[in-house]
Amino acid sequence: MAESVDTSLIAARGVSKQFAGIEVLSDVDLDLARGEIHALVGENGAGKSTFAKILAGVHRPTRGTISLNGQPVDIPSPVAAQRLGITLIHQEPISFPDLSVAENLVLGRDPGAPLARVRWGEMTRDARRLMDLLGVKIDVTRPMRGLSIADQQMVEIARALASDSRLIIMDEPTAPLTPKETETLFGIARRLRDEGRTIIFISHRLEEVRALCDRVTIFRDGRKIATDTIANLSDADIIRLMIGRPLKEYLHKARTTIGEVALKVENLTLPGVFENISFEVRKGEIVGLGGLVGAGRTDVARALFGVAPAARGKVFVDGKEVAITDPTDAIAQGLAFVPEDRAVAGLFRTLSVEQNITAAIPRHIAPGGFIQRARERAFGNDSVRKLRIRLASLRQPIGELSGGNQQKAILARWLLTDPSVLILDEPTRGIDIGVKAEFYDMIGELAASGRAILLISSELPELLALCDRVLVMSEGRLTANLPREEATQESIMQAAVPQTRGVAA
């Protein structure tokens, strides 16, 4: 115990957390040293985020102790955590959009009298100083609204510095960033570490973990599995520890006959978002659409589906030119779109699974306007069987299902429309590896049955495993059209990276 008191900033012992009787974190023992960048990796639901949130005061542990500098501490709230010098930087930074950057930096930091005077001049000067320290050029007097995600993250980091945080937790920070912004972030993280601060880096991206971090801790099923210096573990080791079994190598996908062109897009343009997008998808083909977050891929999908139509360009379905201004048009033309964020754009949380599954086929369940429950039930049962959806009853609210099963239900919804073109936007996001494999099989089967599939994904292994061709978008333009043989992680990344800057080392 003497050594850990000496060097560790945070010592967690036996930390456990229960939510509604279900234990999501069990007996975690972890030491975080001063002046290190420590990665937490694990599948979704493995407990790494929960553990980080406990440190950040968002959750209270059900059992266990946490010591800071050798002294046991209680962290009842995020504000308390901040006072102890622990700051959490969210993936989607939270801020007050209508207040200025300077105010966002200050707000809530030191508790003072409510009627205390706001020192505008001092606040602005301090804010500018912090921004300069980080090497970031942001006008601190402007409102937060409209700042890029990268800039918002910088502001959050500045906040952490302003309160002299000793422990800064970054939860999946690089997902929305360009490589250049990522490198800036990494540079700052390294500087902070050299100053003696501790950084926790939560990420799925093993390349980044390897590039940035000193040590890594792997979580699985709510437990800490291992902690080691990054040099001692290979990627395969890490993956094996994460999933508890070697990852099944996804072999060459089954050969399907590829038919005529089902979807042809010509010079699709939405000024400021994407430009001159042209590609084809054939029947039986799985075309991937890769790129960084913010490249415009979802926007293209939304334009195709009529949610936010393009300004110019032509779309041909089965050889016929169509004008799609509305999702209803799109469905009528045989398109289907499984959106990226199912909570926002897919689920009717409080409605039954049945109602969710049949939401896009009103005419099939209610030919005369009146709903025929028997038909609806039949469709529901059929979908549950085909997609192996695990639920207690079709009548239960879909919000009670797990993430993977919710996604299956949404997929079922769209399959019922019998689409000829299926657009999938990050379909396996937030889904555990076991269910992911099921999805890959299903996508393969869908292609085999003659549908044309456009698969938008940020997961390179997924694109490489499933697709016949991979398109890559970068900053609103199509930068690559790679047949399966030419598609590699490097070639995709190279095309995904913005042109004016190279891939930072």
């Binding site: 939510f19 099923d221 589906f305 109602q355 939401a359 306007g369 239960q396 609210p397 299902l401």
Partner: protein
């Protein structure tokens, strides 16, 4: 995002166990309304023997039938995720338009048609601001309620406009022993109940109210459905206004003044969720009767109108607390 999933079903594939069917049928706000209704009849019976006379209750109902009719459609509007506070002012303005037309010599059927049309027009104006311009319907309809009431004031001034003798007395007409306004209400409730509960149109109203973005993505024409609802409530409000003219014998600008409260109250007491996605015609139907019992009871008990206002306001608050509570318990 992931935190939410962690809470509902963390690492396992299975879903939470489903509640038994009888539980989902019984534990709902409509049950609360039904219980209150029964209690109300008991309490009323204690106050006065008249209460247990069905004819007395039916007769009392005619005073509220118009408001109740509108409340039924308002329920659908609220389920769809919008709200309309202008129907009471709509009633007044449509009635004023109708009365003014017929006073100017236009034949009654035409005047009625124009009155109804003006109600639809008012609904269309609400729809324009709320749907086309995407402004919050609460603020829009606060604005239009002021506007419509003001226009009614301009048309009618401070005077009453009389309607012809033969037009008066809709509440005196009996159909199988039930006053006509009550019959209209019951029929409307049945029709709307079937539409909301059994048709795809009704289902889509629930879907829009639950998650409008998801509804759009699923190809549901939310703008069109909302437009229909605003027009419908405009029409029904106009009809209710003209019915009131028949019942009262004359039209003033302050017809149905302040009754938007009662309409909202009926919907809320019936278990309609203010944020949309939940509610039933049955609930509002029961709540309308409940409100009639409460209001009539207060009159029989010689409660001052002012106190009645207090009671209604208090009821509204209590009903939303209770509804919120029930819905948040049912969710996890």
């Amino acid at each position: 995002m992931s935190a939410l999933e962690t809470q509902s079903a963390p690492s396992s594939q299975d879903a939470a166990p489903v509640r038994p069917r009888w539980q989902t049928i019984i534990i709902r706000p409509e049950t609360m309304t039904l219980i209150l209704l029964v209690l109300g009849v008991f309490a009323g019976g204690l106050l006065s023997p008249y209460f247990l006379d069905i004819n007395y209750i039916l007769k009392s109902f005619t005073l509220y039938a118009e408001v109740a009719m509108v409340a039924l459609v308002l329920t659908m509007v609220i389920i769809a995720g919008e709200i309309d506070l202008s129907p009471a002012a709509n009633m007044a303005l449509s009635a004023c338009v109708f009365a003014w037309m017929q006073q100017a010599g236009i034949p009654i059927p035409v005047a009625v048609a124009i009155g109804l049309a003006s109600g639809v027009l008012m609904g269309a104006i609400n729809a324009f601001f709320a749907i086309a311009l995407q402004l919050p319907s609460i603020i829009v309809t606060i604005g239009t309620l002021t506007l419509y009431r003001g226009l009614a004031q301009i048309i009618a001034g401070d005077k009453s406009i009389r309607v012809p003798e033969w037009f008066i007395g809709i509440d005196k007409i009996m159909l199988a022993g039930i006053p006509l306004p009550a019959v209209i209400f019951i029929v409307l409730a049945i029709v709307l109940g079937v539409v909301l509960g059994g048709t795809i149109f009704g289902r889509q109203i629930y879907q829009i109210g639950t998650n409008e973005i998801a509804a759009r993505h699923a190809g549901i024409r939310s703008a069109r459905i909302k437009l229909i609802l605003f027009l419908l409530i405009g029409f029904v409000a106009a009809a209710a206004g003209i019915m009131t003219a028949s019942r009262l014998g004359s039209v003033r600008y302050d017809l149905a003044l302040g009754q938007e409260l009662q309409m909202v109250l009926m919907a809320m007491l019936g278990g309609t969720y203010i944020f949309g996605g939940r509610g039933t015609i049955l609930g509002t139907f029961l709540a309308a009767w409940l409100l009639v019992i409460v209001s009539t009871g207060m009159i029989v008990a010689n409660v001052l109108p002012a106190v009645q206002l207090v009671v209604l306001g208090g009821l509204l608050i209590v009903s939303i607390v209770a509804t919120n509570f029930i819905y948040s318990r049912a969710q996890r």
